[in-house]
Assembly symmetry: C2
Homo-oligomer: 349 residues x 2
């Protein structure tokens, strides 16, 4: 046990998730020390837009948040080196854990994939919420981490801070999971819930955009791409498959009408955009599609932007987890829980 | 990393849970080695009724199950020493992990409390599903484990193998939990569900007894004692309190009539036996009582013998987990997940 170690964290990306994580760290610094024996320094941040700064003595999380709240960037941070780039941070001898939170690119995985490879190769633990590298290269990255004796954790890629990956891999260790069904995209679940209340698809989408749940270009959500990427992660990480995005049978919700939703309700059913990953005879199939489920189904009551997973196991039957699936602080919580897991494992309890 | 270590397990108690655990181990031996690098030997079992046997070379799990299925005990096991007792097993130099699964006694915690103290004092990791010692002496046992540099794990004490304790302490590490609401007793939830279908309390209780959900003397379940013990564990383990069973405001379901249930349904509500643990101004209050909840409440859809917990957190809002709350294999899964956690932590990943 080495409770007095100070973890040196390097942050790549200072958008919503990076800021959410630093906010949570700043607010919880004392609690983390007292309850978990967890001490940290943020030694560097690298973001091509928000700015970069590096100081092996540690940056002040409160000042970083203050600056980004006021100016939208951290370029005016006093002290530290400003010429640091992301790859230098990945290789720095002053960093123990790289937190990789650049935007997801599901085609190339970049720039996250290169960052994660570089950090692991240089013996850094990596925590990420970036879905691209995990969906594209989980096996390679996992083997690299094992070879280097470091950890690669990514709770935030599915259901944000709501335990999903670590629930399946750690809390349910030893159980065999033959099927995972989930509502893994909050935007589409919000839209479908609003359509149950009588809105048309277009009205519900506008409402989702107004509330910040949907992007200006909502394609990734409503056509099921985001859910399909999460299905790939579930298949490859939880169920041991090696599938790609092209292997996922995918249909979005843009062709669902208010009438479809109302007719389903009359039958005692709800239409949900379900991600389903099934292992049968050693083969794993994944799909994302609008599905009618009875009101008694454990996912039927999951409304609004909330996400959920039902895991079908050999020893426990169905286990369902329900919680938020997105958000700055929510994904910051995912990163925090992963960083604390590294702290626990390295400490040996 | 030490993937080739063989964990030597000593089992105290060979009732339902102990048998469930050995059944699961026997069935999963190959998978556990291949997937988790987990190798084990059961070196001893001590049970004053089912029989005791000790062999540092390892007992055959399949033979143990075969014997107990055929004769109700393992006294005819060929080989090994039969004169082993539980305390000798706790002290044996041939044991790494003690699995303590004797019956719960919530007044004294015995004999489990003595077993766990003795095992920890002798530097053994301990895994238990025994609620008594954890409800009565969590802090003392936790400090003893820390002092000795070993782990004390007890996922099975709440919601059997459905992640509850480890979900809150590990998967949700860093989140502050201000309130836990739960359906933590399957027997009473089954009875209330049957009463929604029109049965009287007495009829529903008989049905529960027929199906093996309720004991011949159902007091511990229907008067809320079992749920109250779990509320104590939640309060002390998850929310840092130091309360006892007497501190729990407790009311059972024996005075709930079919009419009460029907009237609630007419109001769009369900009556559930809710355990609630709330932290306010640093003080923790715990209660178990029949509570009317609206159908939109995340616990309203939890029917039959299923259990659930809703954790109210600062970073994620509400997170709900739903799954089985009892059962031989289900609690065996809890023990297995804890044993695998010890394996992970000691290995350092």
């Amino acid at each position: 046990m080495n409770g007095s170690r100070t973890w040196r964290i390097g942050l790549i990306g200072f958008g919503n998730v990076g800021q959410g994580f630093v906010r949570v760290l700043a607010r919880k610094e004392v609690m983390l020390r007292e309850k978990y024996g967890f001490n940290f320094k943020i030694v560097g941040i690298a973001d091509p837009v928000k700015g970069s700064v590096f100081d092996p003595n540690g940056l002040d999380p409160r000042k970083l948040i203050e600056l980004v709240d006021r100016y939208g960037n951290i370029k005016a941070y006093e002290g530290g080196r400003k010429d640091i780039d992301s790859l230098t941070l990945c290789r720095s001898g002053d960093v123990d854990i790289i937190v990789e939170v650049t935007p997801t690119n599901v085609k190339t995985g970049e720039p996250g994939l290169t960052h994660i490879r570089e950090a692991l190769s240089n013996g850094k633990h990596v925590v990420t919420s970036n879905k691209g590298p995990i969906a594209l290269a989980y096996r390679e990255l996992k083997e690299l981490a094992e070879k280097k004796g470091v950890m690669l954790r990514f709770e935030g890629t599915v259901l944000s801070g709501t335990p999903a990956i670590n629930l399946a891999l750690e809390s349910l260790a030893g159980a065999e999971i033959s099927k995972v069904e989930g509502i893994v995209n909050g935007t589409t679940n919000f839209i479908l819930t609003k359509m149950e209340e009588g809105l048309t698809f277009e009205e519900a989408l506008k409402e989702a955009q107004r509330l910040g749940y949907a992007e200006a270009d909502p394609t990734a959500d409503i056509e099921g791409w985001d859910a399909a990427v999460k299905a790939v992660i579930i298949a490859n990480v939880i169920m041991g498959a090696s599938i790609t995005l092209n292997d996922v049978e995918r249909e979005g919700i843009s062709r669902i009408s208010r009438e479809d939703v109302a007719n389903a309700l009359k039958e005692g059913k709800k239409i949900k955009l379900l991600a389903e990953v099934v292992k049968e005879d050693g083969r794993v199939r994944a799909s994302v599609k609008p599905t009618k489920i009875p009101l008694t189904h454990p996912l039927a009551g999951v409304s609004g932007p909330i996400n959920a997973l039902t895991l079908h196991t050999d020893t426990l039957g169905r286990v369902t987890i329900i919680g938020p699936g997105a958000g700055r602080v929510e994904t910051g919580q995912a990163i925090l829980s992963d960083v604390l897991a590294i702290h626990r494992y390295v400490r040996g309890a």
